[in-house]
Structure formats: structure tokens, C-alpha cells
């Protein structure tokens, strides 16, 4: 399934991918940061301070592995609500995230208007997203068309779940992207659930990436718990796009370790044994073990990263909690250009 090369020659995957120890530590930092922010949002939710959380737990390797390829402010990113790891990797700050989670006036993503997880950041070229599933795939295609027309070197990265593949918009976007050989990477975070609907109620195929060839471009399926597999597939897709060869569809097989959202009770539709078993394969643990095995991380260094992250998240939370709500007048602004 995974497209990483089998390491008969015992070359470590990161070495064969040309990733430096610094690169790896950056990925690790983003993973730890993402996890900490996710945990904080849940904690605030349980305290009644935050109305909604959609956790990315289980998706981190897919998100951060792929987003590590993105050139912030150059390539376009169209995340969906579960993509905390993507936006943090591209450069959203913890403060920007917490302001959004707490729906404060200063929230750069939505000005306190949208639920958490609806990012948008013009400077980072993170395109403002909505809740209706799969609409953003068409936006990504249109963006890529414009990049191509303007002969600008920018690749559109669009993220979505397996549920989104059922929508007509996904089809129309892939078809359009295929026709015009657009510089776009479709990244499907395939956790096999659309809230409660299992894969077999969503599609009759094993790997949804197989659909890509029906649109005239390649689809690959990778182990979404494996940062390197995801990174490699994404980098290839990105290079392909930049060479003018068109789109690629990447399916990252992941597992959603938490309920769909803070409103969901996943015991209704999956066994907790299954969840427990999956938690043992936590992508963050796996990556940490890799770093340790490679001698790139020890207890001291790990503690340093953890405490740096904790400090950042604490600071961001404090700031956001003290930040003002939008003013009443903010209900009425920005309906049209002013």
C-alpha cells in the first residue's frame, strides 16, 4: 500500500528523501504543537468555554507530512475542518488558532464568525473554508487554473476526507483539473468514516485513489500514519504539478482516533476495542520512536520541545481568552466590500 521504497539497503527513509535532521525536528515540532493545540481545544470544550472541536488525532502524519512540502505564501492551501496539522505546518500561529477557537474579534480566520476549524489566512494563502463538504475542491481547481493562466509557479493543495469523495463537486473538480492538467494536489485523508458511515456505505472500492485515472491523472494510496510515505508522495505530486504534468490524487489511509467532533458519540457506531487498538499506532508516537531510533531525539530534547510547545499554547490561550469578543457592530460588516 505504502509507496515508500522497501529499505533493503538500510538507508533510513529520511535520508533517501533528502530530509535533514532539522527538517525532521521541524516536522516533529509541528506534530507536537498540533497535538497540544488539539488537546487544549478539547480541554476548553469540557470547561464549557469552546462550543466545538473536530480533532485531527490520527491524521497528523498525513497532514504534517504532506503540508511540509507546501511553500507557505506561494502554494495555495485549501484545508478542511480537520486540518489543524496542515495549517500549523504552513504557518498559522498558536495565537491565531486559539483566537479562532475562542471566536474572538481578532480571529484572523473568520473574525469570530465561523466554528473553529474554518481557517483562512490571506498571507499564507490558506483559502477561507466553509462547512459544506467538498466545495473547496472546485475552488482549488479554479485557483490552479488561474495560476496556470498567469504562468505563476504555485501549486494548489486541497484536503478533504473520504466522505467528500462521494460528492458531485469532487467529481467535477477532478474532471476539470484533469482536462486542463492543472497544478493541483488532491489529498484525501481517508479514515474510512464519514461521521458514522463506514467505507462500505460510502463506496464499493478499496482505494478511492483508483478513481484518478478516470480523470486522466495518477492516484496513489499511502500509509497515512507514515510521515515519510506521505511526504514522498506529496513531493512527487508537487514536482509533477510544477513540471506542468497536471494533478495527482493522494489517498492517505489514516484512522480517526477521536469521535467525529465534540458533539459526536462514536460508541454508537464503532467498537472501543477497535479505537484502542488504533491508538497504539498513534502517528505521533510512531514518529517519535523513529527519531529516537535514529538518534535524533533524546529525553532532554523532547522535554525541551514539549515545554516550548506548552509555553506557546499557554501564551496563546491566555491571550485569546483575554481578547475581546467582536463588537455588536461586527454583526453587520463585511457583507460586501466597504
Amino acid at each position: 500500500m505504502a509507496s515508500t521504497k522497501t529499505s533493503e539497503t538500510k538507508v533510513s527513509p529520511h535520508v533517501s528523501l533528502g530530509l535533514s535532521p532539522d527538517n525532521l525536528m521541524q516536522i516533529y515540532y509541528k506534530m507536537v504543537l498540533t497535538r497540544a493545540l488539539d488537546e487544549r481545544a478539547w480541554a476548553l470544550n469540557r470547561m464549557g468555554k469552546v462550543g466545538f472541536v473536530a480533532s485531527c488525532r490520527g491524521h497528523e502524519a498525513a497532514q504534517i507530512g504532506s503540508a511540509s512540502v507546501i511553500r507557505p505564501g506561494v502554494d495555495f492551501v485549501l484545508p478542511y475542518y480537520r486540518d489543524l496539522g496542515v495549517v500549523m505546518t504552513v504557518g498559522l500561529t498558536p495565537r491565531e488558532q486559539m483566537l479562532s477557537v475562542l471566536a474572538k474579534a481578532e480571529d484572523i480566520n473568520t473574525h469570530g464568525r465561523q466554528m473553529p476549524g474554518h481557517w483562512g489566512h490571506a498571507g499564507l494563502r490558506i483559502i477561507s473554508g466553509s462547512s459544506p463538504v467538498a466545495t473547496q475542491l472546485l475552488h482549488a481547481a479554479g485557483i490552479a487554473y488561474a495560476s496556470k493562466l498567469k504562468q505563476e509557479d504555485a501549486v494548489s493543495f486541497v484536503y478533504f476526507g473520504d466522505g467528500a469523495t462521494s460528492k458531485g463537486d469532487t467529481h467535477e473538480a477532478m474532471n476539470f483539473a484533469g482536462i486542463y492538467k492543472l497544478p493541483i494536489v488532491f489529498i484525501c485523508e481517508f479514515n474510512g468514516l464519514a461521521i458514522s458511515a463506514p467505507q462500505e456505505k460510502q463506496m464499493a472500492v478499496q482505494n478511492v485513489a483508483d478513481r484518478a485515472r478516470g480523470y486522466g491523472f495518477p492516484g496513489v494510496t499511502v500509509d497515512g500514519f507514515d510521515v515519510f510515505a506521505v511526504y514522498e508522495a506529496t513531493r512527487e505530486a508537487w514536482e509533477r504539478a510544477r513540471r506542468g504534468e497536471g494533478p495527482t490524487f493522494i489517498e492517505c489511509k489514516v484512522y480517526r482516533l477521536f469521535p467525529h467532533s465534540s458533539d459526536d458519540d462514536d460508541r454508537r457506531y464503532r467498537s472501543q476495542e477497535e479505537v484502542e487498538a488504533a491508538r497504539k499506532k498513534d502517528p505521533l508516537d510512531r514518529f517519535r520512536s523513529y527519531l529516537r531510533a535514529e538518534g535524533l531525539l533524546d529525553d532532554a530534547k523532547d522535554a525541551e520541545i514539549q515545554s516550548r510547545v506548552k509555553r506557546e499554547v499557554d501564551e496563546a490561550t491566555d491571550y485569546a481568552e483575554r481578547a475581546p469578543d467582536p463588537a455588536p457592530g461586527d454583526l453587520f460588516t463585511q457583507v460586501y466590500a466597504e
Partner: protein, 327 residues
């Protein structure tokens, strides 16, 4: 009589109807094993099986389009759109197909189906889990639109909708699901589609409202009652076809009409109600037909302060009542 919540009224109507008639199927996202994100279909999957309680793929056009096909082949589908905000991809199937099948085939084909969907705000749903979508559909002859707001009305009208030979869009205000309770008969009953209900009698002023706003209006009417103003509150229950008779009779009696709705003001269905009154009760009016509605901003923000500000509140409604009563 037993006391039920709105969501229970929905559930019970579905359960009883499915029990009564095995042509009835339920389809939608998470309606099966999960029992629905609001639990409207709780237990149906176990009781009636996965073939009649279909966990559909995440595809609203697909849900409605397939339901139309099922209706054309002898089933009676009750399709759920998880949130009304996500009904837009299905607009083509609803407006072009379901609503026009009978007319376009000279009556040879019909489309007996129900589309249930939770609408409205006040649940911290933000821009995309709070919308009131009725105006997108109210200019669609061939479609019936029902929007009851109490357990009794919901159960009786959902059963009527399921038994109706034409497509019915059934709007359920999600904030009222667990907020509103009321008595419901234990025996089977249906209520007529197209019949309004005077929820509170009064002689000074008529207020027409539905959904969460209906309950706010009733609360405001209580307040006004204490101030000596007798407000009559009319719940249309069905939006299309609208029971003009009941509404006009009330306005002809009171001489004043206030229409309260949660959707954005401009182009909302309240305009139709207001325009109808203005034209057909003109000679009886002692004051302007007044509308109070959500502001013309894209939708209800997630921030709780702005959300509260978006909704016509009991205060704002009371104020509008006072103003019109004193006209």
C-alpha cells in the same frame, strides 16, 4: 396524552409510520447505525434494518435524486438532510425534479416523498449550521413546505407529509428539538397540511410566526398581555400552501399584523405573508404590515454574542408589538 419534546415527536412519527407501512424508508447521512446526529432516527436501524434505514453516502443531490427514484418505484422515502444549510446541492433535484414530476408528466407520475431537515439557529452552529432556507423553496409550485413548531403539530404533520402523494419539504427548527415540550395524543392522528393554527387568541394585534420565533412571539405576547395588549399569535404551520383564510381572518379582526421570521429579512418568506396581508386585507389595516426578521448578513455568526444579536429576541419582538399596537 403524553408530554414529548419536538425531537421525540419527529422520531415517534417516523417510527409509527414505518411500522404501519413497509413501503416507507428513511435515508440520509448517519440516520442508520448512529441514529441521526440529532437522534431523530434512533433505533429505526435496529427495528427496520439497513435496507429501510439507509446510511447514505455524503451526497445531498444523491440522497434526493435516489429518493425520487424510490418514490417512482413504489416506496415512500423520508430523506433527511443533516442540516438545512447542506440542502443546497440538492436544490436541482428538489426544484427541477421532485416538484415538477407530476405537472410535467400530465399527472402520470407523482413523487410521494418527504425531505426532513433541521434548520434555524441558536445552537452555536455558526454560519453553516444555523440557516433558515425556506425562501429558496417557497417559489416552487409542486412542492409543499411544512414547518410546524410544537410536538403535537410536528407529529401530526409529519404523518400527514408521509401520507401525502406529493413531495413535502419538512422543516424542523433544531433549537426547539429539546427546548419545546408539549402534549401529544397516544393514538394515531394526522393534521391537515395547509391549515394554520391560532396559538394564542387576541384582539389587538396579529402576529404570524413559526419555528423558534413562534415561541419567542408567544413569550412576548404574554408580556404584552400584562401590559394590556391582547396579541393573537397565528402559526401558519404550513408555508406552502399558505392558509391565507386563517391569517386574513385574524388580521381583519385585529387590524394589525406583525410577521416575525428568523431568516434574513430581504427576500424571506415573511415577505410573502406580509404582501398577502397588505393586498388582501388592505381595507382592514390600522397600521403597516410590519416585518421583524434576521438582519441581512450572510448568516448567524458562531460567536455567541453575535449569534444572540442576529436572532430577533423576545425583547425586540415585544418592542415591535408595542410599536405596532400603538400605531
Amino acid at each position: 396524552m403524553v408530554v414529548k419534546m419536538n425531537i421525540e415527536a419527529v422520531h415517534d412519527a417516523l417510527y409509527e409510520e414505518m411500522k404501519r407501512d413497509n413501503r416507507i424508508i428513511v435515508m440520509g447521512e448517519d440516520v442508520g447505525r448512529d441514529g441521526g446526529v440529532f437522534r431523530a432516527t434512533e433505533g429505526l436501524y435496529k427495528e427496520f434494518g439497513e435496507a429501510r434505514v439507509i446510511d447514505s453516502p455524503l451526497a445531498e443531490s444523491g440522497i434526493i435524486g435516489a429518493a425520487i427514484g424510490m418514490a417512482l418505484n413504489g416506496l415512500i422515502p423520508v430523506a433527511e438532510i443533516q442540516f438545512a444549510d447542506f440542502i443546497y446541492p440538492a436544490v436541482d433535484q428538489i426544484i427541477s425534479e421532485a416538484a415538477k414530476l407530476r405537472y410535467r408528466s400530465g399527472g402520470a407520475f407523482g413523487c410521494p416523498m418527504v425531505i426532513r431537515t433541521p434548520y434555524g439557529g441558536g445552537v452555536r452552529g455558526g454560519l453553516y449550521h444555523s440557516q433558515s432556507v425556506e425562501a429558496v423553496f417557497t417559489n416552487t409550485p409542486g412542492l409543499k413546505i411544512v414547518a410546524p413548531s410544537t410536538p403535537y403539530d410536528i407529529k401530526g404533520l409529519l404523518k400527514a407529509a408521509i401520507r401525502d402523494p406529493d413531495p413535502v419539504l419538512f422543516l424542523e427548527h433544531k433549537r426547539t428539538y429539546r427546548l419545546i415540550r408539549g402534549e401529544v395524543p397516544e393514538e394515531d392522528y394526522v393534521l391537515p397540511i395547509g391549515k394554520a393554527d391560532v396559538k394564542r387568541p387576541g384582539k389587538d394585534l396579529t402576529v404570524i410566526s413559526y419555528g423558534l420565533m413562534l415561541h419567542f412571539c408567544l413569550e412576548a405576547a404574554e408580556r404584552l398581555g400584562k401590559e394590556g395588549v391582547e396579541v393573537e399569535v397565528v402559526d401558519p404551520r404550513t408555508l406552502v400552501p399558505l392558509d391565507k383564510e386563517t391569517i386574513l381572518a385574524s388580521v381583519k379582526k385585529t387590524g394589525k399584523a406583525l410577521v416575525v421570521y428568523e431568516a434574513n429579512r430581504t427576500g424571506g418568506f415573511g415577505a410573502e405573508i406580509a404582501a398577502t396581508i397588505a393586498e388582501e386585507a388592505f381595507d382592514y389595516l390600522d397600521g403597516p404590515v410590519t416585518r421583524l426578521a434576521g438582519p441581512d448578513v450572510p448568516a448567524m455568526p458562531y460567536n455567541s454574542k453575535l449569534e444572540a444579536l442576529f436572532l430577533p429576541s423576545v425583547d425586540k419582538i415585544s418592542e415591535a408589538m408595542r410599536k405596532l399596537a400603538g400605531y
